[in-house]
Symmetry: C2
Subunit: 400 residues, 2 copies
């Protein structure tokens, strides 16, 4: 067992991600874009210096947990409650429009399948992959621009969280028709139970934290206990309720966001995040990519898949936002902010593979979607925000 | 692959280690002692909540790297050069006295073996296990007391680093007599080459850092680049020169210790360390312990082994320190500070196992030595320092 071999991977990831992050800034694009490109470069696609290992996967998972926890901590709870109902409507459109469009695309390529047939479910499954927004890149991007706490930022975040939950329910429904051991009703129940659990635990945890915080403001034990709480919530969500771990971490953040030291906790999390876990998470998206098995057919399907994936989210979420009386520019921001896909899409694809609803050749399409959306979202968001305010770089609250 | 399962382990380690760390402070013992005890409790010895996984081993390795890098960063270079020759003498005694005593102990238990026989090398090997000081616990303990930069602290650190190197050379010599593929001369050469390499790279890296630092003081890129440099040095040391990775990390710290932002880098490293990696490293010592195969014979041998291990270091290093004109109390501090054993002892034991110089039953003895020395050293050090100054708690530069 030679533990030191991971040091090489870590050193390469950290330094290349930072260099490309800085280069991205110089081109006025968000840092995350640079970090994802860094992952592509050092991964099997280009230089092959680093390959995705179990260790890096787990580190990346901690990275996304930290990101979501920190997003939760920075949530304005009043704003969240205010945006809740609207976010729910946006999330619903953000799930069903891509679901229908994805299924339609598959049928457009491979022929219309009759309701209930094997091919029909395969088409629906392709739509299911498109449902879940991966908000982490949007979060990081809004954070870089100092826009996470605003009305639009909170709406995107709440909608993305709700859309994750709906997406998981849809996935379970689709799979439920194929495999007998998946029970859609049970998924709905356990999802509801998780939120009941979160409210009860949240109430208790908040009061315990408030007491500790009162006595030991700005001591190490506050962020340490907070971090442990976040990990525990992520674990419990996934292990006992079948909810994504990132949702658990986000909920943990929301529970603690009104504690006096919330900002102090977030700051300590950020150090962990930007020093190590963040770069690993963003670079790992690029690391996962392997274009060895790409054929022309799949390539063309992939392009259509990516286009449908992006446009259906923008249209679905954007239109609903507009209906809910957001301004035109803000509706577009919401649509674009919701279009990123990430690890959840991969998890869904993996699930489809294992139950025989998806052929492995479509993995490349999913990864394309993740990369294109991850790179396009931050750039477009930045342009949309810059349309109103000149020179966002100046407003950057972080030093890089 | 279910990455979320590690969250449970991490949450348990972080929270239990913190609670026991705080309890240890309340009993006026250093925090590390609490963290090691926490590892024992949650590990297979007592409750079995967490077991040592490959992931935790790698996290612990990053933990010890961070610790050593941070120790290097806080080094007073002038003091190091001043203490160098004395540290070398202390290290030599710290290697050869335990080596002889350990071999003697084995012969006392199992009969005197003739020079050059199989049993003779087994006895010498038992002594070899006792040679390498694991300075990380002493470092953490001196840090907690704010004594890392002093004359005694720097001497202990330099001596421990040198003793690591001598220990590795001795190990290679002993194994060289058994296996044909290990060449003692080559080890000496590659050790020398590493220090030549470190000086050349150090000279270049220092100047590059000084330039970056001048332009971007207190920006994130400084600690990030520093951390990447530390990982790279740790990797290169172990991979290309056969030197322990922790030595590489420490050398990286020393190279950067005169950079203007050294303290800023160290502070950011500390956040990573105390939030996650530190507790994992210290708890993992306890996690490794498994007392299932313990017999009475081995138990008695272990007690003697631990006693000889501790006393031979105190006597060897302490006496040489006294000869080098340290005061009585300071000599004792140096002896005690050098008596901790850690992962290097385990690595040596593993090596002995693989070449057939050690039976696996003695693993328990080695782990006993690590645990006892890890718990005893900080407590005794604290008492020795408190003998001069009352109430060290008040001087604690860290909030816990």
């Amino acid at each position: 067992m030679e533990a030191y071999t991971v040091f090489k991977d870590l050193a390469i990831i950290i330094i290349i991600a930072k260099v490309f992050g800085i280069l991205a800034r110089k081109c006025r694009a968000p840092q995350v874009v640079g970090e994802i490109i860094a992952g592509l470069l050092i991964g099997p696609c280009v230089f092959g210096w680093v390959s995705q290992t179990v260790f890096l996967t787990e580190m990346a998972e901690i990275g996304v947990i930290l990101l979501m926890f920190s997003a939760g901590l920075e949530t304005d709870l009043k704003e969240l409650i205010k945006t809740g109902p609207v976010a729910f409507l946006i999330a619903c459109c953000g799930v069903f429009v891509p679901l229908i469009c994805g299924a339609g695309l598959y049928m457009a390529f491979y022929g219309v399948a009759p309701w209930g047939s094997e091919e029909f479910y395969k088409a629906v499954f392709m739509g299911t992959i498109l449902t879940a927004t991966s908000v982490s890149i949007t979060v990081q991007c809004l954070k870089e621009m100092g826009k996470l706490k605003g009305h639009v930022g909170t709406t995107i975040l709440s909608a993305a969280i709700i859309d994750d939950v709906i997406g998981i329910v849809v996935l379970t429904f689709v799979i439920g028709f194929k495999s007998p051991d998946s029970n859609p009703l049970q998924v709905v129940i356990s999802t509801l139970l998780f939120f009941v659990f979160a409210i009860v635990v949240g109430f208790i945890a908040f009061h315990i934290f408030a007491i500790i915080d009162e006595r030991y403001t700005h001591t190490r034990r506050i962020p340490i206990t907070g971090f442990a709480f976040c990990l525990a919530m992520a674990y419990v969500a996934e292990r006992y309720f079948g909810i994504a771990d990132i949702t658990g971490a986000y909920v943990a953040g929301i529970i603690l966001c009104s504690v006096k030291d919330a900002e102090y906790i977030a700051r300590k999390m950020d150090v962990n995040s930007y020093m190590l876990f963040g770069p690993i998470f963003f670079a790992s998206i690029g690391l996962k990519t392997n274009i060895d098995n790409l054929t022309m057919d799949i390539f063309i399907f992939s392009i259509a898949f990516v286009a449908v994936g992006l446009i259906s989210k923008i249209v679905g979420c954007g239109l609903m936002a507009r209906i809910c009386r957001f301004k035109g520019n803000d509706s577009l921001k919401i649509g674009v902010g919701m279009m990123t896909r990430g690890e959840v899409a991969l998890i869904v694809a993996q699930k489809g593979l294992s139950v025989g609803l998806m052929s492995p050749v479509y993995f490349t399409s999913v990864i394309f979607l993740i990369i294109v959306s991850s790179i396009a979202t931050p750039i477009i968001l930045k342009i949309l925000y810059a349309a109103k305010q000149e020179d966002l770089i100046e407003m950057d609250p972080y030093n890089t």
